[in-house]
């Protein structure tokens, strides 16, 4: 009879262990790193805090909002495409209502893939980063490259000069 008690105790314990296992759809290790961008005043080259900033990226036929009229920001984390295209177009404006004062910045890079975990899947790492000439020099006058690779989200990659 003691074995019956043993089985009655042991089987629910096993079920509990299995039920508590991690799910495969939760990504805790982090996916592809975003690009960290800070801002400078073009006049004196000093770091700046933007009163208002709107940033979007073009992803195929979609335009995805990254920062929607954010106030008093000193940096922004911009996601890059993971599609293997080798570039991401970024739209920047300081006046969210303006239809004309929009700077389009094309960032080019080479992508490499790295498997992370079942939950995160594969992530992209970006190297040999370059910036094409800006379309629309208002509000962003120029771009400085601080690092030409993105393997984490710690280092500032670009400075937008306003």
């Amino acid at each position: 009879m003691k074995y019956i008690k043993f089985i009655f105790c042991f089987v629910p314990l096993l079920l509990a262990v299995v039920a508590c296992n991690q799910e495969d759809d939760i990504c805790t290790e982090g996916g592809s790193p975003k690009m960290k961008v800070k801002f400078k005043r073009a006049a004196d080259g000093k770091l700046a805090r933007m009163d208002s900033l709107t940033v979007r990226i073009l992803w195929g036929t979609d335009t995805l909002m990254v920062a929607n009229n954010s106030k008093a920001v000193d940096s922004v984390m911009i996601p890059l495409k993971v599609t293997g295209d080798g570039f991401t177009d970024i739209l920047v404006q300081t006046n969210p209502k303006s239809k004309t004062d929009i700077s389009k910045i094309k960032v080019k890079y080479t992508e490499s893939s790295e498997y992370v975990s079942p939950g995160c899947g594969i992530r992209k790492l970006y190297d040999n980063l370059t910036v094409s000439p800006i379309e629309g020099l208002n509000p962003v006058k120029s771009v400085d490259i601080n690092s030409n690779q993105i393997h984490n989200e710690v280092k500032t990659v670009l400075y937008f000069n306003f």
Binding site: I7, V18, V82
Partner: protein, 224 residues
């Protein structure tokens, strides 16, 4: 997964309750051990539950076992099987098919005094799977759900794990046929990987990336 857990619980309760009403004669195992002489005996069983479920699920699992009683309470056991299964979830589309083998021992915890093949048992096995894996889609998470997917060619992989066995066996109508129900907690020890990617389907072990799994068998067996 919930369906499997439910079945496991039901079969465990069923077997437990089936034996709960039996009156046991107290026998001296020590005496029995002294008199014990091995006579060739083999029981072969086929997992009929998974055989029946094949028509209704993506999992195509055939597994069979052979046991031989080598000591009064100790049985050698070997399992062999073939499984074809797929994992199609969270951006993954992976399938695998291949053979698996297991070997180990079972210890009769409460053998029936009248038929030593009847009773509850517990034991352990070592297991290995050798299979073909096809990764049609592995996700790269993109911004706001704009994921992209990578595919890889078919490759040969292997996996090795330890497995517990907790179950019961009962004779059917005083014949040589038996019903054997077994719960199998499993722990993955080692698995080969393609492009360092954790395999999501391993024949004989299960689907998804968890190292702990709980399997089960419900078999009809014949004692030769």
């Amino acid at each position: 997964m919930k369906l499997r857990l439910f079945y496991t619980l039901i079969f465990s309760l069923f077997i437990s309750l089936s034996f709960a009403q039996e009156k046991k004669k107290i026998s001296s195992d020590t005496l029995a051990a002294k008199k014990w002489k091995y006579k060739p005996n083999v029981m072969i069983g086929v997992d009929v539950l998974h055989l029946g479920l094949m028509a209704f699920t993506d999992q195509k699992l055939f597994q069979a076992f052979a046991t031989s009683r080598i000591q009064p309470r100790l049985h050698l056991v070997a399992d062999v099987g073939y499984e074809k299964n797929k994992y199609d979830k969270n951006g993954y589309d992976v399938s695998a098919k291949g053979l698996f083998v297991k070997a180990g021992t079972l210890y009769m915890l409460s053998p029936d005094p009248e038929n030593k093949q009847n009773g509850f048992y517990a034991g352990g096995k070592v297991a290995a799977a050798f299979y073909q894996q096809e990764m049609r889609s592995i996700p790269t998470r993109g911004y706001q759900g704009h994921d992209s997917y990578a595919s890889f060619p078919t490759s040969s992989q292997s996996a090795y794990w330890l497995e517990g066995a907790i179950g019961g066996r009962v004779e059917l109508f005083h014949s040589n046929f038996y019903i054997d129900a077994q719960v199998q907690p499993k722990y993955m020890i080692y698995t080969t990987k393609q492009e360092n990617i954790t395999p999501m389907v391993i024949p004989g072990f299960g689907t998804d990336a968890n190292k702990f799994k709980l399997g089960f068998m419900w078999s009809v067996a014949y004692l030769f």
